[in-house]
Symmetry: C2
């Protein structure tokens, strides 16, 4: 018995029948004596429909109004689930973002939670009410509706779990946990029983789509135990925890793959102090997020500078760099959208030499050329030609001993 926060994603509430299934699961948890707070996403597809509707009006919908529009999706599911629970004779009540006091900054469309005023939720929970909160939405200091960006309901759930000091935050989704790699790419992928916050953060930022990255940051910061599991089965999923017990620790815990980036190479940049800034500042000024940056050793007084940007920003970034190249007298700008980033992740590798070497030799054995490399304490990423991505994932998965028995 304890205080359980349950978050259900869009596929779990995609229609009335599924909402009724969610209600049964919530009711069961409640009947076991737990206090239950439920956080919901919009029905699968609804958010996309709303975006499309706004797209009929203008290519660039004003962001404040977009958030007012999008917030209706979660409002709908929250009302429907509360209604369903009440029709089953459970004492439920919905709360919208502002009613649950989910306070955010005012970055419409991508707001960050600053504080959750848990007063009302706690009051209702103390009354043994099942509280159903519309996820993804909050309110800024001026009382405007904000939304938290794609996957924001995960963050709503973890932030609320932290605020009410919940014993567990269960994230129900359409997969049954976090895998060592994408099972669609590698049939030998294994479901992990546990993963640390840090590993999960790397996995999320490197392309695994199970949890919104900010929700993991929140969970880590407030030490909220998170359980990622399927809303379509009773099986245990993956626990996201602060630290492993030693027994469980593996050197490498997962392989990720992302095809979202494109590579831009500025060749023959004059080798002068501050030249890298001249190449990259216009990109960041344009609001484009750069991931990996590589600068070659100078040769004949010039450098090559390569970096990756989201594919969606490729055209803008190329345009900017062509101008920059002219201004600084660089030789040429090359672009490549056909790349993939393959990464190995694991808290274990901090203390293990040889992970990088093993990664490079594994890729070499498959004749896969490494075009860029980036590393952190708990990940190594290689940018390779896109068509080799799946092969690379499978080889690395086997090489690091992750294949299921």
């Amino acid at each position: 018995m304890g205080v359980i926060v349950q978050k259900y994603g869009g596929t779990s509430v995609a229609n009335i029948e599924r909402i009724q299934n969610v209600a049964k699961r919530v009711a069961k948890t409640y009947d076991q004596g737990n206090d239950v707070v439920v956080i919901l996403s919009a029905m699968a597809g609804v958010t996309d429909n709303l975006i499309e509707m706004a797209g009929q009006i203008t290519d660039r919908p004003e962001r404040r109004e977009m958030d007012v529009l999008l917030a209706t999706g979660e409002q709908t599911t929250a009302a429907l689930l509360a209604m369903t629970l009440i029709s089953m004779k459970y004492p439920a009540q919905s709360l919208l973002g502002y009613q649950a006091e989910v306070r955010t900054d005012c970055s419409y469309g991508n707001a960050r939670i600053q504080k959750v005023g848990a007063g009302r939720i706690k009051e209702l929970v103390e009354d043994r009410k099942i509280v159903v909160v519309a996820g993804f939405q909050g309110i800024d200091p001026a009382g405007n509706i904000t939304t938290l960006g794609r996957g924001g309901s995960d963050t709503s759930a973890v932030a609320i779990a932290a605020a009410i000091n919940a014993d567990m935050c269960e994230i129900y989704t359409d997969v049954d946990g976090v895998y060592t790699t994408d099972p669609n790419i590698c049939s030998k992928a294994r479901k992990m029983n546990r993963i640390t916050f840090d590993e999960m953060l790397e996995m999320a930022s490197l392309g695994a789509k199970v949890l919104q990255i900010r929700s993991v940051e929140f969970a880590k910061k407030y030490n909220v135990p998170v359980h990622v599991r399927s809303s379509f089965s009773e099986e245990e999923g993956t626990m996201v925890v602060n630290e492993y017990t030693d027994m469980e620790r593996l050197v490498v815990s997962g392989i990720t793959c992302s095809k979202n980036d494109a590579r831009i190479l500025v060749k023959g940049v004059p080798d002068q102090p501050g030249i890298a800034a001249k190449v990259l500042t216009p990109i960041s000024d344009a609001g484009i997020v750069v991931d990996i940056i590589i600068q070659s050793s100078p040769r004949n007084g010039t450098n090559d500078i390569a970096f990756t940007v989201p594919k969606t920003e490729y055209d803008r970034a190329m345009e900017i760099e062509q101008k920059v190249a002219e201004e600084i007298g660089a030789k040429e700008v090359q672009g490549d959208k056909g790349i993939a980033k393959v990464s190995v992740v694991g808290v274990g590798m901090k203390n293990h030499a040889g992970v990088a070497a093993k990664m490079f030799s594994t890729l070499a054995a498959e004749n896969i050329n490494i075009r860029m490399i980036s590393t952190s304490e708990i990940h190594i990423s290689c940018v390779i030609t896109e068509k080799y991505a799946e092969l690379a994932v499978r080889s690395l998965h086997t090489a690091f001993g992750l294949d299921k028995e």
Copy 2:
């Protein structure tokens, strides 16, 4: 130039194209130098879809959650219109019921506006912002979302117009004004240029569906000039005003017809003091609204008591009366769902004898039997057999000189 409140109904915002048309109309009013506050309904059909969705869960959706659900309809259109105006370079901002401080009692599904805290709207208007308010919704003292019942956006509009002391409240709808009677029944129906609040109240309560009755009460109480007009044309509609100038005054200004009621007749009720209360109290205790009540003169120590109830409550009312009849020893209970109520309305009739006589003789000339009669200072209603309703409307329209030339 002044402060104009414009309310657009569901058919006027039924799709993106129509919302764009509304935006053009709003922009034009704004460009003329007016301050504009817009109140919107949900897209036509959306509210019904939401009700149907809830109906898949339970026959009796919990009312608080139903309001949370329904409020999404107006939230959607408010965001879309504001977005459209902004894309046209007009400074617009949406406000939801709670943001516009539309304070109501807590009768979910049928809440009454108690106060509109106009502070935020006025601030925005002073900034020359076009304010787009989600109609139909408010907030109760505990911070819960409420809705105002069918046609509630009319009341939102008039209440907000009163609160900000607007110069005009324009109600845009799919008809071009208020008619002397239903043009679908009587081809000679004339659009009225003016009608008084009192007449409009009678028209609304007797079956004309142009405005929600509560909005007219509000307009009368706060003396808000209301202009009912079409969102599909530029023509002037009908002004709803406090008083006529004498020139315009007609004895009878309109004919209405309602088929929403059923008649229940309790025969052979013992003629005792308080017996009418015994017959009718159980009905009102069941929350059923009775319209006309007739008690015959006693004959042989018994009375007949007849009354009308909404057709939707007919079965429940019959059941109740059958029990009552047994308890009080009445002879029998008869019911009839095949009735219509035809009414003549006009502030002029207060001071004119002969209106009732003319009504009765007109119906008699068509061989239409009058089954119940009720009167007020400005209306006379006759209950007749349903199949004669249209004939009665047309005859009365001609008899009272309302036919268009």
